[in-house]
Symmetry: C2
DNA sequence: CCGGAACCTTGACCCAAATCAAATGCCACA
DNA sequence: TGTGGCATTTGATTTGGGTCAAGGTTCCGG
């Protein structure tokens, strides 16, 4: 097994792709889809592997098919902040940009559906369906970033943890077009350190707050990477915002 | 003078518009520009006026021509975080969305170049130039939001203040296609409270850090709303990140 | 079954920024 | 020229989360 990104021969047809109707290809049909299908290739990364370093040349863009990746930014003295969390169906890379602006790391085992950048950019010009879907996804990501700004700027450590769990639960549920409620389980494919980098905390504070939420019955831990939430509404209350999570979209 | 948004009769031709080559209309020429010009109308707001409330119907989109506006999000208990800062040439509103997601407030006197939403959406479909410019602007805004995440998550109060000043200086300079250097003046069309909401601080902390930067000669104050920076590189050093601000774009 | 590494938890202490509380400056306007 | 209403500054005190330090788990390879 190579240490580098593994170019993976086994790729699925788009028809049975789990992110077929949520990714950048969502609105494509017939010829458009065939063209994308013809140029796609898969890559797999192990948890912890770096996909690209900030400043490196990046000549592909991709959709996350499975797993999770984090975009990360750093100050010179090493302080680290996650600035993007990519879940299945999210888009990676910026058309028109040669160099990666952020370091991308697989936080769990990761499968990407990649397209070489240049041909993809051409497709973007010829094919308004793809371009408009990408605009829509970018606007959604901007909205998510804005919720994240509120989280980082104004929420307490406990609210931050609860918010992260709510976000993961909602994203997980959205993939199967449902809305989380009642007793639910959340996969948590992040180390405590990655959670801390996401939330602007230290890993010690993350650990302490997780313990506190557990002690108070808001969550139960099933191993380190799986969380049981007895009452989803209780968790939402703890997260500080009581928005209902908006339309299913 | 009405208390509400002032629909303003005096509007300039696009040719002499100060944001002609930076706004969503940047790549438009001839017919495209004429079409935009035919449907545009100006609105003016006084400092402090609300442009739209979160949740209200919003049936126009707009470019900021002059002045500054803040997008703001709130938790139920009143904690407030600014999640967007709109400067001249920035785009306001989301095509395809009926309701405003954020409250928009003029932080200084503000001039908007508005388009009714429905006709603008139609234009977006028919006219790839505008759509691709909007995608580009949205991607830039996402990058800015990601720098902002780093600021909120990991920077000290002093670094936050310095970073805000650097951002304003760069944006001001970019409008005239220059890069800030040496001794510069920065307009600061924000109250201390608005700065605090931007930076995830209290207004007292903002005031204290401004005083400290002044005491140490990093900045001089010329009234409350104008800052003189004797050495721009010194200010950038104080901001924590030493990126050079990227290409002029 | 043991040793080690990676990850996580817990405790004690500290500090940067929040909170609470006055002052002070600065207009606009009577 | 005073006066009320802001925005801002400054001071005293508290506190949430950071830092430093020590153990505990889990899991893998030998």
């Amino acid at each position: 097994m190579p240490h580098d990104a593994a170019l993976c021969a086994t790729q699925q047809p788009c028809e049975i792709c789990p992110i077929r109707y949520r990714a950048v290809c969502a609105h494509c049909e017939g010829d458009e889809l065939a063209e994308l299908e013809g140029m796609k290739f898969y890559r797999r990364y192990e948890a912890g592997q770096v996909v690209v370093w900030a400043g490196d040349r990046m000549d592909f863009v991709a959709s996350v098919v499975a797993g999770m990746a984090g975009l990360t930014q750093q100050l010179e003295d090493g302080r680290t902040q996650m600035v993007g969390l990519l879940l299945p169906s999210d888009f990676l890379g910026r058309p028109g940009r040669e160099m990666a602006t952020y370091t991308v790391t697989a936080t769990s085992n990761l499968v990407l559906c990649c397209f070489r950048r240049k041909p993809f950019e051409k497709l973007l010009i010829d094919n308004p369906r793809i371009a408009s879907r990408l605009l829509e996804m970018t606007l959604d990501e901007l909205d998510a970033a804005r919720d994240w700004l509120l989280l980082l700027g104004r929420k307490s450590a406990r609210e931050k943890i609860a918010s992260l769990l709510v976000i993961l639960a909602r994203r997980e549920a959205a993939l199967i077009k449902r809305r989380p409620e009642g007793r639910i389980a959340i996969e948590l494919p992040l180390t405590r350190e990655a959670m801390a980098d996401y939330l602007g905390l230290t890993l010690e504070t993350v650990s302490r707050q997780m313990s506190a939420l557990k002690r108070e019955g808001v969550i139960e831990l099933d191993g380190k990477r799986r969380v049981i939430v007895p009452s989803f509404v209780r968790l939402v209350t703890e997260s500080g915002d009581d928005s209902d999570g908006g339309p299913l979209s």
